[in-house]
Amino acid sequence: MGRRRKLNRRSRQKLQRGFAILALLALLALIVLVAVLDRRVTQQFEGRRWTLPARVYAQPLELYAGQSLSAARFAQELERLGYIPQTPVDRPGTFRRKGDSVDVYVRGFRFSDETQPAQQLHVGFDGEAIASLAGPDGADVPVFRLDPLLIGSIFPIHGEDRIIVSPAEVPSLLPEALKAVEDRKFDTHHGVNPLAILRAAFVNLRAGQVEQGGSTLTQQLVKSYFLDSRRTLRRKGEEAIMAFILESRFEKADIMNAYINEIYLGQDGRRAVHGFGLASQFYFGKPLAELNLPEVALMVAIVRGPSYYDPRRQPQRALERRNLVLKVLADENVVKRAQAEHAMQAPLGITDNAGRSANYFPAFLDLVRRRLREDYPEEALTETGLTVFSTLDPLLQEKAEIALSDELARQDQGSRKAARGLEGSMVVTTPQTGEVVAVVGGRRASFDGFNRALDMKRPIGSLAKPMVYLAALQSGRYTPASVVMDEPIEYKLESGDVWKPNNYDKKIHGPVTLVRGLTQSYNLATVNLGLDVGLGPVARTYVQLGLDEAPPKYASILLGTAQLNPVEVAQMYNTLANGGFRSPLRAVRAVIDESGKALKAPELEVTEAAPAEAVYALDRMLIEVFERGTARPAKQALPSGLVVAGKTGTSNDYRDSWFAGFSGGHVIVVWMGHDDNATTGLTGTTGALQAWTRLMASISTTSFEPLMPEAVEDRWIDYYSGLETSPYCSGSAVRMPFELGTGLYPDPACPPSTTPEEAALMQPPLPVVPNEDGVTAPADGAPRTGNPP
């Protein structure tokens, strides 16, 4: 007996010891697990909590007296920014238009150089321009900028995108509504709500499937952090422990704020929309702080299933759930029942198409991304929350897209079969500051596909001619009045082949002036001129005007075999429009980090790249392209009195239709063609110029009126002979700039001193528009270039 008892006692002790060890081990394991989970969740919460893609803004609208902007246009711009017309104008994001005046409560915004607080502004208009600006106290405001339009983020492929909001930017209704609908005991529980879990379990058991979640907001947050929605028991256990840890370490308010910034709320193509800040922009096109009751209710409704309750795809379902949320809010006394019932009548109020068609400019964003990559590593762009201030002008961008798509649609309807289904691209820059203000990458501008403005290199055709003439003018041996021979040429290539270029009209025009050769885009005259000047100097002008590399020195570059993309062409023509000063094109004005500190961004630069006199003369000849040359058909479609300059380009077999040209305020480059390089049947004139003119005629711009350089004067010459003449004899007199002291031959038939009276006596009257054709090269071998430089 005693032995048995002894044995029992011994085995009991053994057992107890075993249990104790086991319990100790289990406790140890638990401690280790908690420690591990604690580390994970705390790190996630405290450290870099979110990867923040760089946010990209358009340029802000500057308001100042004299700015050309009507009250109606201003109201449109405000609505684009999500401002609500309402009376009274008592909070940021609202405005009221009364005839020729607008009161607006401008939102606060952190610019790269200063933080502008929210403030009220009174803007008076005088027809098409701003007449006055005044603050709330009536004091004059000389200049003011609106908060800029958010045009996108730079997020990794399949990445999360979000806009972080601080508690101050969150309408107080949102956390209350979230608690009422998702987690009623949020303020008191310790991370998990066992009662809610039991209730959910009961409901789910009865239904035979998972219908209800008992997760607290804290648990949802933890789940979202670790991106694992498997509903396994172990997962649930870990989740509960982590929720408990979070609750014990952090304040409720911090957890709520993290939830508001973390939670998944929708999908935009490859972009996952996280957090209420971005979701508010994504669904309503305005900041979270400005959402009203039905809008907040819809956001809370979406939390439960962003794709199931997608208000764009499932509007009815979303509406029903929103109204259910409103009912709960009334039941829980978060809002008054009357308010909730009123809100139930409101439409969903979703912007069209995720703001895609309206404020989505993938080709421009692509340019911004590439320019930023030159200065920043990829992670810095996609993770560290930079704010990027870009040069995009949303209104101009929109007009460029319309001009191109309208022209392509016209070609689709036209008689030329080859010109149907064309693609196109456009780039717009501002000449003095070298900013890219619009980029269209294709026919479907809001489609994030092949970016023709950057990724497509095509022969530029006659867009290359100004480079030949610039080389000639800056050689000092030529003036606009110099004569070159437009006659057949056979050029022996290194390969042994013989190159025999032709004129577009297959005619030979004999001796022609430089101004005529360029404006009529004569190939033979240009080749003869280019060969005389030399291929080296011609190729070097490409670098002068802003390309990184000169094209290879083949004779065919004289006629535009160099392949460039529209942005490169815009860079070169921007230098021509800027009087020979080269400004590297900029798409980014400034970059700031999360704390508001200014980071590296390209600065405005100007470099005197070509002699002002040569560029001035070339520009004046490019104006003549619209007066007498290949762009003349466009003149009537432009506002009368608007002086513009430019050049048509057509590549071999009509594969590419180009136009590059400028006013005083804008450089516009247009390309049209087929992606498979098939013929279009279009010249630069019948294709790209048409889209160019549509845009130039629809924007607010200024005449191209460069100041004449100091050592230069205007003189009248005959367009055909280059002889110095009087303007009164015929329409073929053209005023061209010459350096002081340039020798010119007087026209014996109409010397420069001819007065109007003398001209009137001349018989027979001279034709106003002389016959362009039928001038053939003299058989007796006239000099190739002859008149004085």
Binding site: V143, F581, A598, E603, V643, Y720, R784, P789
Partner: protein
């Protein structure tokens, strides 16, 4: 018909000139025309209607140009001034420069330049900022840009030359700096 015959005349003339590419002066005309100075008593002749629309609007030039080119008196341009908006932004930029906030100042001047890109004073201001940023080459370029926009405006050109002189001196290019400075001084007294 006429262009053709005129072309032949031209060719004949050119052929007699020996198809030279070298610069040459045409023979002086036996009866030199009286050079009409701008703003003088000579009538300012309006352009013929067929070509009025073809020309950029520039200072009206005197009638038929003489065969022998005479240096023209450039019209004096009114000194450049700031618009109220630019003025506000320039003073903001100056305040930012004083505080040492050079990126902020650049931002303010950028804004002003977008509003008035053709105002040479703004380019001079930007050049002054580039001096602070020790980007002397760009300071000079901004000065030259301002010069090209201030034709006939002696006061502004003088300020631009002063900037160019400072930028040259900062790079140790003393003789050129001296030359630029002399231009600045000369223009300031004219």
């Amino acid at each position: 018909m006429l262009p053709l015959s005129r072309t032949f005349v031209a060719i004949a003339l050119l052929a007699s000139a020996g198809c030279s590419l070298q610069p040459f002066q045409p023979p002086p005309s036996p009866t030199p025309t009286k050079p009409a100075t701008h703003g003088g008593s000579g009538p300012v002749i309006s352009e013929p209607p067929t070509v009025t629309s073809t020309m950029p609007s520039e200072p009206v030039i005197q009638g038929p140009a003489p065969s022998i080119p005479v240096p023209r008196e450039r019209p004096k341009a009114a000194p450049a001034t700031f618009s109220p908006a630019s003025k506000a932004l320039v003073s903001q930029a100056q305040a930012q420069r004083k505080k040492g906030d050079l990126p902020g100042a650049a931002g303010s001047l950028d804004r002003a330049l977008r509003i008035e890109p053709n105002n040479p004073l703004l380019w001079i201001e930007m050049g002054r900022l580039r001096m602070d940023q020790r980007n002397f080459a760009q300071a000079e370029s901004m000065g030259r840009k301002a010069l090209s926009m201030a034709v006939g405006d002696n006061r502004t050109q003088s300020a631009a030359w002063q900037l160019i002189a400072d930028s040259l001196r900062a790079r140790g290019k003393n003789p050129q700096a001296q030359e630029a400075l002399e231009k600045a001084q000369q223009l300031s007294v004219e």
